[in-house]
Amino acid sequence: MTDTLDTTPDAFQARLQAFEGRPVGPPTVAPDEVNQAMIRHWVEAMGDENPVYLDEEAARANGFPGVVAPATMLQAWVMRGLRASLEADRARAEGSTADPTAYDELFLLLDGAGFTSVVATNCDQDYRRPLVLGDRLTATAVIEAVSAQKQTGLGDGHFVTTRLDFTDAAGAEVATMRFRILRFKPKPVTAEAPPAGTDAPRPRRPRPALTEDIAFFFEGAKEGKLLIQRCASCGKLRHPPLPACPHCRSFDWDTVESTGRGTVFSFVVTHYPQVPGFDYPLPIAVVELEEGTRIVAGLTGIDVGAIEIGMAVEVELVAVDEDLTLPMFRPAGPAATGAR
């Protein structure tokens, strides 16, 4: 770190708050007076058919001194135009901004701290009087507030509120606008912390979707048990779990713990595509448990060339990461049962 400034959170916040009240740059004078041509284009684009924007008589009949501009056109009068905007963007990107504004300095500071993304959040306008043809506006922009660090759905960030005060040629205030943006640190693609003691985040296996019907199975696995759902009415076992018994239609159920012994009913060896979180070639089987139900599970501790239908296997509950434990099966002792 070559920066000699204090970089503690409090110090950083103090540096941000020092921008509060600073003008963004010199006042912007509208390139054009409020005029009928720009109003006409605006209302046509917006589909606004209110006659007070185009018709002198209609405007007077509604109590205005003459044709008025749509209130929400406020900022349009002081916009600098596409070319100037593009040139400013390019200069900022090249770091060649001749005369950095307070904005440039603030955003450089936020960028440096990792708050590199931006989203506009809201805009409020207060109007003192209607704008009429011939008004010439001047806008003065001030950084009104820089929030403390906030947690948002997009990521952690700071809200920056800019206030624009609009005045007429006589210097009288005609409107105020507050424009708020969020500068934030984009969330990493995988937001989970890596397990303690590892350097790089270990890719995780796909998560099971845990409905109320099936969560018991994965909770049991975490406790080292291979559970099978049992109908509490007729006693038949079922897997995968269902909310009701297909034999007697009872909704009452409990579980039994499997012995974990079974045989390979079918199996595959997966080569492609290779998904992070797994080692390939990846053997996976349908295992028929001693209790009679079948279950899909990875095979472990086995030569993929030696897997056969009918071979005896036994369960091992494997914590594949900090919050997922899965039943996997390894070859049982020599007392293998025959193929079905």
Partner: protein
Amino acid sequence: MGFERSFAGTTAICGIGATEFSKASGRSELRLAVEAVAAALADAGIEPDEVDGLCTFSQDTNPEIDVARALGMGELSFFSRIHYGGGAACATVHQAAMAVATGTAEVVVCYRAFNERSGYRFGTGVQDRPPVANAENAAMAWNSPHGLLTPASWVAMFARRYMHLSGATSEDFGRVSVADRRHAATNPAAWFYGQPITLEDHQASRWIVEPLHLLDCCQETDGGQALVVTSLDRARSLPRPPAVIRAAAQGAGNQQHMMTSYYRDDMGGLPEMGVVGRQLWGTSGLGPADVQSAVLYDHFTPFVLCQLEELGFCGRGEAKDFLADGNIEIGGTLPVNTHGGQLGEGYLHGMNGIAEAVRQVRGTAVNQVPGTEHVLVTAGTGVPTSGLILGVDR
């Protein structure tokens, strides 16, 4: 269940249309859908504003109302979507025929369009994000945490068991691929036009999921396919010979799962296709000897063998003998997938196979089977599925 169906023999497919089948269409899925629907209507000689029904897959991303707006169809009185991936293919025609036979609609277009190669690919794995807890996602909880993530892997689990029970080998699966590629080789619309393969090519292709080689797996395709369904009376007044809907049916089996029905007593068959087959034969009054060719859904080769058995073309476990000696190729007793199938022509989720059956009935297929009276078509396998028998208008 009786087999009499009011739509059988009273409705017909009167138009077919497709985009090119490619690996990168360069345009939106909606545009592919609209192009295919427009082409099918042009083939039928029906103006878009006469269409009052649309039907597609629930997996399709192109809403009926968008297709209708794009082609100026005006008002619709029937729209329907069918679930379970490729199992929906023949069911779109089934539902269209039911709508026409009941007077709910007069002209229904069935369509499916996607960028399945250049856009979202079904065969890619999943990411580490917690899925929303609902029954459809929970069904994957038994498979995906173990790495059983792709359609190829789900089918491979069946294939291994089927090999164990029937004695079929990887070479037997390969014969399906060889037949498909032979047919595609003479079909200019096929991606693998002019590129037949040998059984040795199949055996030498790399493993995807043992026991499936690369050449046991269908292509991934960008494209769109559409079919126009109307009454037989109306179809008779149109330019193309009607492909009469002799039978259409959907089927889900006992204790059905989505591609992972590993928990039934028997894991060596496709009972859901048996449900479809019984209805197709019962409704049409036909039997396996009465169809001159078949389009059997071939996302993965092993299930073509299972379908031959479930539909009664051969006995249980006998498919490996049935398809020996080129019997499912042109010139054999039951040519299968005469357009090249989804391994050879393109993967349009089964809809291109229905179009091929229409061409066989019209007598305009590139690999035409002489004397065609009836063609059987099936939809996605391993999932709740559907089927059709189309026939010549007599």
